[in-house]
Symmetry: D2
């Protein structure tokens, strides 16, 4: 038995035993972890006649948070309509699909891309029927104590059709004898983890954020309608006005009487995921009032102060490190150049160069620009080093293109610990920083020098709450300081970020 | 609220309020009922290294029982793999999909085609996790008392993601504290209806048939492996040897120790669905030892004895009534001719003739063959009359092609009552035979004469159990004699045959 | 160099060197010739506001004549619109495609399915620009002297983008200095072969048939519009009234002044392809006033007179031999039974049983019905024997299902010679009848007895022109009497029927 | 009659009368011209066992030059294999397709995206048969005198199946009585225009560039193989080593004896297309030794010198103007910021915001980043202004996001004249700079100030041949100085760049 918890295996074991089911051929799973995976994104509308269309455009703006699958559920005077599918938002929905999704309330979801197993069953929103009627739920994040709750539910006779946290929440709500909002409140009080939830019934949309605010969620207005989104860029895209971030522990309920601002928990220590600032969120989004492009540029500037090196050019690994590289260049006066370029047409393709062609230099995605780097001392800015294999490949690419020196500067501290809150991280043993010193990593990636941004530098760059611990950030992946209890005997590692 | 039972609406109400959800544009729902809909088909393998491939070919042979969606789940030393999709078996599965479905046990399903709403969520097998591990279930048929059980389960906190009976069974099994086989036995003892079930766990395949044997299920052997299928044609297709029909009330369990032949109920009055003989099953299948082509040919012969008419040619409405027409022709000596022809490339297409073109005679599916019918007195054999609209259209088509007289002969008695056991029937008020006499129907369909096969004629043609009531057939749709209790205040009409 | 004529290779050599180009993986080419291939079909409309829609339905009715690719070209006050694609008519065209095909004149085409090479480039109608404007052409049939004309054209500087005869015609027309109709007439006078052509310019539709009438073409009326079609079933489908067959050597021109009935050649000896009667045309079509179902039934009756055998049942190989089997049964009094059944969902699928499964009896397409044939002496009716491999397989299938004896009756004489007029035939060496006696064939296909319909029997059954040689039929594949010169040093064997 | 030249209409007329044919619904043609269209790209391989795979990766690297359709033709010891389709390289080709393209020589093509009409018939390489055997041709660019040659060819009986220049070339080659290389040479000597050609026969690959070098073409080596590509980035991607640019008027022939460097014309005045530097080519490509990113950065720097403005931030319109914006920022010391962001998942999608949603601010592709531009004086860098509509939209977007001032700086001179050499330009009347002064344009696009890079500034930034007129650039679209004769009575405007 390899499926989740079925044999009482530990979380880590489960994590490595594979997918619950398999569709098609799985590619080499290792390749997943060359790059941290985007999490999911959620989007919701209450009270707009074009709820499904707005969700389409909102989810399209959040597409970077999940390319695997997506879905939208609408409530049309109590009748639910939904459609979910594998693929990009623009692929899964066409005009006919959207026209079928009638109603003025909607919640939608984009899900990140796992390699190999395409799991339509896990596409969200999940839609349930229970005693109280219809219920649609979607989420971004991860519950640490989901395995325990799931086991308890199974022991009292529950069945599960997905591996998603969402289904656990639905069971908790359905088993409560209280009214919906109270049942939701009770359910959230049982959850430990980092998450943003959108829940829809026939006449309500409910939004909630975990007590540490680990995962982002914002609220906006579009005329009389309310909009929720994982990132503010989706408000901008849909023409909605930003109102505010959903606060940790809040439970916002929209019904025919309007917005009810309640909480299911007090704000505990604020701990918004630092990786949202470093890598995940779109540069045109704001989190707690801070624009992401500006934040990343500042990381580059602070990194330049912490780790100056005399060089001829600065280049960033596209797309995520361009802002930081420009900041580094501005701070140092070293020209910013396009030393690396990404083919924008890459994306899902099943044709890869053969081993032989790859060895001869065939590249699909990223190339070094010979004319730019040849004979130059290069500062290469990247956002993080996970296994080190990608960094090594890029450094070597620059050297083969004629770079004299390659100085690697990373806009985050060494990534050493797994995430339990929604970021898909490899086996801790494979995190290069968990077993190697910076100098050893430098050698492993063949760099002339290597510096990581300091924790304080990161906090100074992006800390929205300077008076809080870690500036209000979760830095657990860097410093092992998890904001919640993480009891390993039952905690669930994030094997896929929305489970 | 329009969804199932949520407002305590009666079954009939629920039936007419539409689909739980909607994907794409729904075509005119009325058009569903021009023809009775095929039910679903199930196929199972225990102990064959090519379990998924066999399921593919077996389901392909059962495709006529359901064209909407299909799925296969395999158990590979306890790891479940599955794939489900909308479309024909050959469309949903390709080589890669099948190769991913490793394992030596499998169950699979084809689901019939509803018009408009394409419900991937209802595709089977459904796969669950519960305390005991993984569970896959698929079914053909319908449970009369599902709404009551569902309501009871909802009241104790269950959630439902589909409208399928299968999910109800899974809940009943999961809530039992007994071992799997006992839990399954207990669950079946609660069910009222007509059904054939296949259930798979990591190391077992279980097959069961309702206590009246309303829905067909056969068992075969392929070397050491066991095969189950809704119809024997799927055994033939996969090269398996027919062993026997699964008997009413039986619970057959296959595990590492082989076949365990048990029952969860005694055989009550046998009542195999007469429509399987009349229309649904493939002509090359056998049910209780009787070949379907031969049975239909005999219906035609008996009908000829009961309702001879002097005519020039006999023609059958393709494809289902060809065998009966040949029987009628043989019995009467009137030549069998191809007076009606069906375009074999029809099938799912979204382009239909415009109203104007249709009025001018553009036909997509069925045409009368002018040279054959012109100036002739035609006996037209069909299997049933549901609303009468299709019969009228065909009679007129024959007349427009020059038929002098059209004598309609139906190989079943008048269809007057809804089915509760898996056949999608229209609103009883729309069954033409429920409100009109045979003479009135004759006028409505513009026939020169009209005769229905008598109940006794039907029993004589196909009754495999002559000593049982109705020859062991369920004739409820003709004579209102339902083999089970059908309490209308909670009974579930078959809105789609596998729910 | 393996491409056509480039090395001056003989026709037969060229025929075996493969396709001009290749798309995707080619399956085993031998499998092509288990069954003679359908030819192509053409459909045309002059003067109807829904010309494209009518073409859609007309081509759908002609789909059996070609499943590989299809296309429609319309003329909209002189602007041409066209769309061509691989696949069935209902797959290639959707509502948007059809709406884009504006105009009141149209010609369309369905092309038969080659195995392996899918040749979009050869899809028709081909559309050209030349000095005179736009020209669209489609054809059914084959030109014997195309290689010579092509070579001559190449030598004077022509280039070819397809391997289609159609392109040769276009060159001939374009090179003429006469007006279009004269140019077309001159072109046809150069052609030797069997063909039906539809040609469209901005304001004309031209239809022509070879001087022997080898390939069928009919004309109909729909209100004021004129319709052309390869078979009359397409008239029936579109609601058009049959007017007459296009006569051998005729050149019918439709323009704003109406129909101009001219000829480019006198009727030479009439020689309509016998295989149209035996196998290709739809049973509801009429050719020269003779309905195809009736013709085939009569073949079965004549065959019964020529080759009676005492047996228990008669069965036909579906679908093409059902009519003949019924005729045989009627004539002999032996009951017609469904001893063989074809899975109607087969069609293009890329999944085939593995060798191992096939040996164990897994069948995709055709099965014997055990209950029907077990213990019986079976007369099996088929339309032709090409290589003998299929016949052997079917005979064995019947024996494995328990048939005591299998008596094969073929509704055509032995197929011994290649076709040069549009039927895809294998290498003559592989035609079993070209090297074996009937008795040897009987042994090769494992039959208890074997009879072929005599030439006279065939003529008696279908000869529409009893006073002409061979009853006005082309029987060259049976008796080597080709109606045209077939100079082997340059003749083109039909490698694909529309070239 | 609206098709090309059929009525002897002038080029300009023809240009505006629409497409030769139409597939599906055409969107508003005006929208084409909001942005200059990329031209096409070519790629060739001589002498590598993985010729098709290399072409796949090479064309993928050239995808930005054409997203509409693509194709590859290989020569496998003289047998041609090819596949062409609509869509991106990664969509049109899969592993099976590539495996079918056997052979060690290949040429391939990507074609730019027209709006509405998807013209598979025009996909390249075009493949012909002629007296000399097989011929495959693909091209980038446009022939000015194609209409005259086409007319002449039509008058002597040629037929055309496409609207592509390529077909004209093929006719010229086929009509020559000389050997292939001489025939090709003669053909090129007749051509006037800007073009790069790749021609393949069974055993040769020929590359040629027009006598002014208007369109780029480079040669590389990969082991013993030769590679040709429109841009050097495709060499880098395939691991090939850059050898040299193909010179104006060169005719390079590769055969079994290796490379033959010949010419069909002397170098006339060099005039490489300036828009390649400004906009089309990938930033990691080099043209005549100049890296494009560096060139664009220098344009930004020169523009800063020519048109400094005091501001708070510099931002570029993504993606093409990022390099220039960074140059402008570096030169002025004004920080570069991400004031505009493009959704990277856009691309072909058929769902657009409704008018109502668009008015309310729903954006699909480009957004201004409020936090970055709010309260700021913004310098917005763009590469060109065509109609002005896009610029107005972006300026307004920045203002709505709170920009205090928007200063537009364009890295090219005013675009005033149509291109005859391969760039799809709108009706000259719609080129805003052809009828308005800079001040009027400034008002039309609602900018606070507007400056265009001067011609001299452009030449200084990118002129690879400083001693030649215009630095060896074609600046005709800016200064009306066309390097070739452009006789309007028959010249062909570039309606689609590869015709």
């Amino acid at each position: 038995m390899t499926t989740r918890l079925a044999n009482g295996g530990t979380a880590v074991q489960r994590f490595w035993t594979g997918d619950y089911y398999n569709e098609g051929n799985s590619s080499n799973r290792d390749s997943i972890f060359d790059k941290l995976k985007e999490e999911c994104g959620v989007f919701g509308v209450f009270g707009h006649p074009e709820a499904a269309n707005l969700s389409f455009f909102g989810l399209h703006a959040l597409q970077h948070r999940g390319e695997e699958s997506c879905g939208i559920c609408t409530s049309d005077d109590g009748t639910f309509h939904y459609h979910r599918g594998m693929g990009l938002v623009k692929e899964v929905f066409d005009r006919d699909r959207l026209e079928g999704l009638k109603g003025s309330h909607a919640i939608g979801h984009v899900r990140y891309s796992t390699s190999g197993a395409s799991q339509l069953g896990n596409a969200q929103p999940l839609v349930f029927k229970y005693r109280g009627g219809d219920l649609a739920i979607c989420t971004n994040g991860n519950l640490v104590n989901e395995p325990g709750i799931r086991k308890e539910l199974e022991e009292s006779g529950s069945i599960f059709q997905t591996t998603s946290d969402t289904e656990v929440i639905a069971h908790l709500i359905a088993r409560s004898s209280k009214d919906l909002v109270e049942a939701v409140r009770d359910a959230f009080q049982r959850l430990i983890g980092g998450y943003a939830f959108l829940i829809m019934t026939k006449d309500k949309v409910i939004a909630a954020c975990d007590p540490h605010g680990l995962r982002p969620l914002v609220m906006g207005r579009l005329g009389d309608a309310y909009i929720f989104a994982s990132e503010s860029c989706a408000l901008e895209t849909t023409g909605a006005e930003f109102v505010r971030d959903v606060e940790p522990g809040e439970l916002l309920v929209l019904d025919k009487d309007g917005l009810h601002e309640t909480r299911f928990a007090p704000i505990e220590r604020r701990a918004i995921c630092a990786m949202e600032y470093i890598y995940f969120a779109r540069p045109d989004s704001d989190i707690y009032g801070l624009n992401l492009h500006s934040a990343r540029k500042r990381m580059g500037q602070v990194l330049a102060q912490e780790a100056f090196v005399d060089a001829d050019i600065v280049t960033g690994v596209p797309d995520s490190s361009i802002s930081a590289a420009i900041g580094y260049a501005e701070q140092t006066g070293i020209p910013y150049e396009l030393g690396l370029i990404k083919n924008k047409y890459t994306g899902r393709t099943f044709i890869q160069p053969s081993q032989e062609l790859r060895e001869k230099g065939v590249k699909m995605k990223l190339s070094a620009v010979r004319k730019v780097v040849e004979g130059k001392r290069v500062v290469m800015i990247d956002d993080s080093i996970v296994r080190g294999t990608t960094s090594l490949r890029i450094v070597n690419m620059l050297r083969e293109a004629g770079a004299l020196e390659v100085h690697v500067r990373i806009t985050s501290p060494p990534f050493m610990n797994p995430c339990y809150y929604g970021i898909d991280t490899p086996n801790p043993a494979d995190l290069i920083a968990s077993s190697k010193t910076v100098e050893e990593i430098r050698q492993a990636i063949n760099a002339d020098s290597l510096f990581f941004l300091s924790e304080q530098g990161l906090i100074d760059s992006v800390g929205a709450h300077p008076n809080e611990k870690n500036g209000g950030l979760c830095l657990a992946c860097f410093n092992n300081d998890y904001p919640t209890a993480v009891r390993f005997e039952e905690a669930k590692l994030t094997s896929c970020s929305c489970d």
